[in-house]
């Protein structure tokens, strides 16, 4: 039996204050004005046959199957393109309509290969269903003559298998255009068209190219929209239709898409984005939709292992032995070097429940506050900056709010690559007419791509964000564009006055700042005016804002700008950090920073500590513990010797790799809990196998504070979910943790955290997802924050003085290197590198402007050495006009690239967030890998040799 399908209403829902009542087959139905007759019929459980209509796409009216009769109207209008009118009397089933529909269907079927029994869509084919529904009994035209399938041999040759995840079979195509429309409306890439006409009609990626050679980004929207087997997941072709589905949440970026994992036994056949997913509304990207194969990759390590020294071979051991060894080592180190000599690092890839347990383990079992998370290296400035100004360390909006924005400012973010599903939603709004300001050193896709054109691209020099944000504020203040009513009512007036006087200073004008930003003052002025006067203005920003020596200052500057222009506290506006990883928001919420208990409450607050003492039986320490970089420093000083690191690869992702490696080498017990023998695990003494998001229960919290369930789709390969492992370790250390299920952990979190009081698995099942704060005041959550007043009461303006980074160019290091990510790969690539996603991007490359390349004699594809004050690495060059002269760019998805060998120890003044985005470098043509890369290769080979033999062979 194949899975029951969701109801398809045929056309999208419409919102309208006006309601229309009509009669369909004698049944009265009331729907919002603007609704199609087709949708209205489905609302009263009357299904009208359809092929080209589906409720994720605008009506198209091409299949002619959905014709109806309407009293008083001539002919047979298509119900998908006919809007409801008051008093309309619609008949959906009459002998005449049945005749017409059979006739239409007969034509379709006369042009379709009748291989249903062996077709991959068998059991899940809309064409099959509709043929049944209309009662087609014969095809009078025969199957001869020109058609789409008779040239089967020719068309078999045309079958396109180039995409690793889906196939295109033109002989099954009914030319309904759903794929083309999905690529345009849903994804916004416009990679598909129908080429030719009549029997020559084909789905054409690009200019009749292969899918992989076209602009297709493999988001899967076309495959999902296809009513037949023309576009079909290879997973389904291989395994057949799934037998059950489990609704869960994607483990990649901070969009937090909801997916139905379709499962057969313990095999995930495919991941289908859920239509009722609050963040994604049925859309997906190449990572979440297709790149889940890493979960069953042979590189997975599924047995616990221990070793005395990192020179020793790994010993596979039982869970108990591994846990007891780790616990005894931690106890030994603490006994010898004191309570503070060990700590833990958790990850934005862990569930809320897991992160909560790790910080509880550190605070209650280790007895210190030495816990940190990878948000340290990405969005810690967001936490700080937004808490200081608005009162809460989180984005202010729900994603859907973008659909009400009139001006969108994207700063230091690349949504179409980093947050693709939200990027698509933003592009949809831009196509509807919202205007766009891009603040980025590179010409990202949003600056100009089909049907998208930024009104202003402020192509600033890396490191000059504060100069830019302050000069934008200067224009708004000095040209009288401040929303004074809003500021007076909602913000601290004194702080505003101070800020106003500061930004109005001539040295903060765009003209004065031009020397730092490199952006013509007139362009900055025009952008500021548009932002302040163009209607609802929303700011979206990413790591290009935070990962700077003044990251927190820029976040503060963004909040200032939103407050001064009154763009906060309603739909269409706000301050929106695009979180890098699936659970950055959640891991921060869960108290994984060394200075904060869950719910962003400082450890120095006695009342909060007392609350936790009550619940935990142990009082947390009142002094903040070590941040990640402090842990490394302490390790080098010999005072920090034990680390429990769950789900985070610090060696690859933290800056100045050689420094991180030296710190780990200095530790006596490094415990790594992960899916793979990652770069950090190569320095570990205990390896605890982790479980992927498909193997456990829990919750993730996305960039819009949306808490969504993660549900187990297959059993953990190593037998234990990560939360169980942390409990075991805690128990072995003598601090009992006894949870039966992750829901117990969430109940404890909810009990202890005011913004989570109303959250439970039961409520999540009921509502689908919940945006915190969720408590007595907001029982269904809070999509938009700061509506009547700011969380901190009155909004607070803060001064944003521009202080150039110490990392400056010189004659030795004349270029600025900045880093970012690409669509197909994710973060350190541990997951995506182990999937066919590498077919799009199989190595990190250095993007360089033609002028810089030419003066160095560098051609596209040449090997180039990149040297900074911290180190050296070698990559291949891509000569690209997207760059500005003087700036080079790379991604950091592959460990051997050593992108972080060159990044430095500089960091944000407030939070220590590393300055990944600015490194002064020199680039030269070279012929061999850097010394570090050669050492890396040798060391990696050595470490793989230390794995048990059976495992090595598997790898």
């Amino acid at each position: 039996m194949s899975l029951p399908r969701n109801t398809d209403y045929g056309t999208p829902a419409r919102a309208s204050e006006k309601e229309v009542t009509l009669s369909i087959d004698g049944i009265e139905v009331t729907v919002p004005a603007g609704t199609s007759v087709m949708r209205a019929a489905q609302e009263c459980d009357t299904s009208i046959p359809k092929l080209c209509a589906t409720d994720s796409l605008e009506p198209f009216g091409s299949c002619r199957l959905c014709l109806v009769e309407i009293e008083g109207r001539r002919g047979y209008p298509a119900s998908c393109t006919t809007l409801v009118e008051p008093g309309m009397q619609v008949r959906t089933q009459t002998p005449k309509l049945a005749d017409i529909r059979r006739g239409v269907m007969e034509l379709y079927i006369s042009d379709h290969p009748l291989d249903c029994l062996t077709c991959s869509a068998n059991g899940n084919c809309e064409l099959q269903d509709m043929t049944g529904v209309v009662g087609l009994r014969e095809v009078r035209y025969g199957m001869k003559g020109k058609n789409h399938f008779d040239l089967l041999s020719a068309l078999t040759k045309e079958k396109d298998e180039s995409n690793p995840y889906f196939s295109y079979d033109p002989s099954k195509c009914i030319v309904c255009n759903r794929c083309v429309r999905a690529c345009e409306e849903t994804q916004g890439t416009f990679a598909l068209t129908i080429s030719g006409r009549g029997f020559d009609s084909r789905v054409s990626p690009g200019e009749s190219q292969l899918f992989m050679e076209s602009e297709c980004v493999s988001c899967g929207a076309c495959v999902q929209a296809c009513p037949t087997a023309t576009l079909m997941e290879k997973g389904v072709i291989e395994h057949g239709q799934a037998e059950k589905k489990v609704t869960t949440t994607c483990a990649y970026c901070g969009v937090g898409c909801s997916f139905d994992a379709e499962v057969k036994g313990t095999t995930v056949v495919r991941m289908v984005p859920s239509k009722d997913g609050g963040a994604n509304h049925g859309h997906s990207c190449v990572k979440g939709r297709f790149a889940f194969g890493y979960a069953t990759h042979p590189d997975r390590i599924t047995t616990p292992m221990i070793r005395k020294s990192i020179e020793d071979a790994w010993q596979p051991v039982s869970w108990d032995e591994a846990i007891n060894y780790a616990a005894s080592e931690f106890k030994r180190i603490q006994a010898k070097h004191g309570r503070d000599s060990i700590g833990g690092i958790t990850s934005s890839r862990c569930t809320n429940e897991e992160t909560y347990l790790v910080q509880k383990l550190v605070r209650a079992a280790f007895g210190n506050n030495n816990v940190d998370t990878c948000a340290r290296v990405c969005h810690s400035p967001t936490g700080y900056g937004l808490k200081q100004t608005l009162g809460e360390s989180a984005g202010t909006q729900t994603f859907d709010s973008v659909m009400k924005a009139d001006v969108i400012m994207v700063m230091g973010a690349n949504p179409t690559d980093g947050h693709p599903v939200f990027g698509s939603q933003m592009k949809r709004r831009l196509r509807e007419g919202a205007r766009l300001i891009v603040v980025d050193p590179r010409a990202i896709d949003l600056v100009r791509s089909p049907h998208i054109q930024a009104t202003h691209h402020l192509k600033l020099k890396p490191g000059s964000n504060v100069a830019m944000i302050t000069s934008l504020a200067h224009v708004i203040v000095t040209e009288g564009l401040v929303q004074e009513d809003f500021v007076r009512e909602r913000c601290e007036w004194a702080s505003f006055e101070q800020w106003r006087d500061f930004v109005a200073k001539p040295e903060n004008s765009p003209e004065a700042m031009e020397i730092h930003t490199g952006v013509p003052a007139a362009e900055v002025r025009a952008a500021a005016r548009l932002f302040a006067t163009g209607g609802n203005a929303a700011i979206y920003y990413g790591l290009g804002v935070t990962e700077h020596s003044q990251g927190s200052t820029t976040v503060i500057g963004i909040a200032n700008l939103a407050m001064a222009t009154g763009n906060i506290g309603r739909e269409g506006v706000g301050v929106n950090p695009l979180r890098g990883q699936n659970n950055v928001q959640g891991s921060c919420d869960m108290g994984s920073f060394p200075h904060e208990l869950p719910g962003y409450r400082h450890v120095s607050d006695a009342a909060t500590r007392a609350l936790f003492k009550d619940a935990w039986g142990v009082e947390p320490q009142p002094e903040p513990g070590l941040r990640i970089p402090n842990m490394f420093e302490a390790a080098m000083d010999g005072t920090f010797l034990g680390l429990y690191c769950e789900g985070e690869d610090i060696v690859q992702s933290d800056p100045n790799t050689q420094h991180v490696e030296a710190a780990l080498r200095a530790m006596e017990c490094v415990v790594v809990q992960d899916l793979f023998l990652n770069e950090t695990a190569k320095f570990a003494h205990v390896f605890l196998p982790g479980s992927s998001f498909l193997e456990k229960d829990g919750t993730f919290t996305n960039a819009e504070r949306r808490i969504s369930r993660v549900r187990k789709a297959m059993p953990p390969l190593a037998g234990k979910a990560d939360w169980e492992v942390t409990c075991m370790l805690s128990n072995a250390l003598g601090y009992p943790m006894d949870y039966k299920d992750p829901s117990d952990i969430m109940d404890e979190i909810a009990r202890l955290t005011p913004t989570f009081h109303g959250v439970s698995y039961e409520r999540l099942d009921e509502l689908g997802s919940i945006q915190w704060p969720c408590n007595e005041d907001a029982p269904e959550g809070t999509p938009i924050m700061h509506i009547e007043q700011f969380v901190r009461g009155k909004g607070r303006f803060m001064l944003t003085e521009y202080i150039p980074t110490d990392e400056r160019t010189s004659s030795r290091f004349p270029l600025i290197l900045t880093t970012g990510r690409i669509l197909s790969q994710y973060n350190v690539g541990a997951q995506t590198r182990r999937t066919p996603n590498s077919m799009w991007h199989d190595e990190d490359r250095l993007e360089i402007h033609p002028a810089d390349a030419e003066s160095r004699g560098i051609n596209d594809g040449d090997w180039v050495g990149i040297t900074s004050r911290a180190g050296e690495t070698v990559l291949r060059a891509v000569v690209s006009e997207r760059m500005q002269p003087g700036v080079v760019y790379t991604t950091f998805h592959f460990p051997e690239s050593g992108a972080n060998v060159i990044t430095t120890d500089n960091s944000d003044w407030a939070t220590n967030c590393p300055e990944y985005k600015v490194t002064a470098v020199q680039v030269t043509r070279v012929t061999q890998p850097s010394e570090w890369q050669q050492r890396y290769r040798d060391f990696s080979r050595q470490q793989l040799d230390l794995l048990p033999k059976t495992r090595r062979e598997k790898v």
């Binding site: 416009f190 068209t193 030719g196 009749s208 998208i452």
Partner: protein, 164 residues
């Protein structure tokens, strides 16, 4: 139009100027495609990305439009384009036979070019010359009352003209 070839570089400039001249028209794509075909005799594949960039469309969209209309060709036509009217009035006075004759005599189907490169055969649906059908259009000239014999004469003339 590869940039390595001097004549092609000139073509590139010519293409860009045609594209630029039409870029600001409302609904610019079709007038632009017509202008390109008028200029080059066809719409070369290399023009697609240039048009797409100019109008901020995707290459697929431009390709879809070009391939939808039989009028637009992606390869250079023969030295002469002969269009046979297939509309009802002409069909009523012998166009079907004329079409068959034309294909047989030239040895090609519609949208094809004779091996000697002299003639490209196309179908057309009404030239507004219904009173005197069957009608042909030869390049920009319209000819009425075309019998198979007259067709042969016309083709012979066209061939003679180019070999002369």
């Amino acid at each position: 139009m590869s940039s390595h070839h001097p004549a092609s570089a000139a073509d590139g400039l010519r293409l860009q100027s045609v594209v630029d001249a039409h870029a600001s028209l409302p609904g610019a794509l079709l007038p632009m495609l017509h202008a390109i075909q008028d200029e080059f005799g066809h719409v070369p594949d290399q023009a697609v990305p240039v048009i797409a960039r100019s109008l901020n469309l995707s290459r697929a969209e431009v390709h879809g439009v070009i391939t939808f209309y039989h009028h637009f060709r992606s390869h250079a036509p023969g030295r002469h384009v002969v269009q046979v009217c297939r509309a009802e009035a002409c069909q009523a006075v012998g166009a079907v036979a004329l079409e068959a004759h034309a294909k047989k005599c030239l040895g090609i189907d519609f949208h094809e070019t004779t091996a000697d490169g002299a003639v490209t055969l196309e179908a057309v649906y009404c030239l507004g010359n219904c009173a005197v059908g069957p009608s042909l259009r030869i390049d920009d000239d319209i000819v009425g009352r075309v019998t198979p014999a007259r067709f042969d004469e016309i083709i012979a003339e066209l061939r003679a003209e180019v070999t002369a």
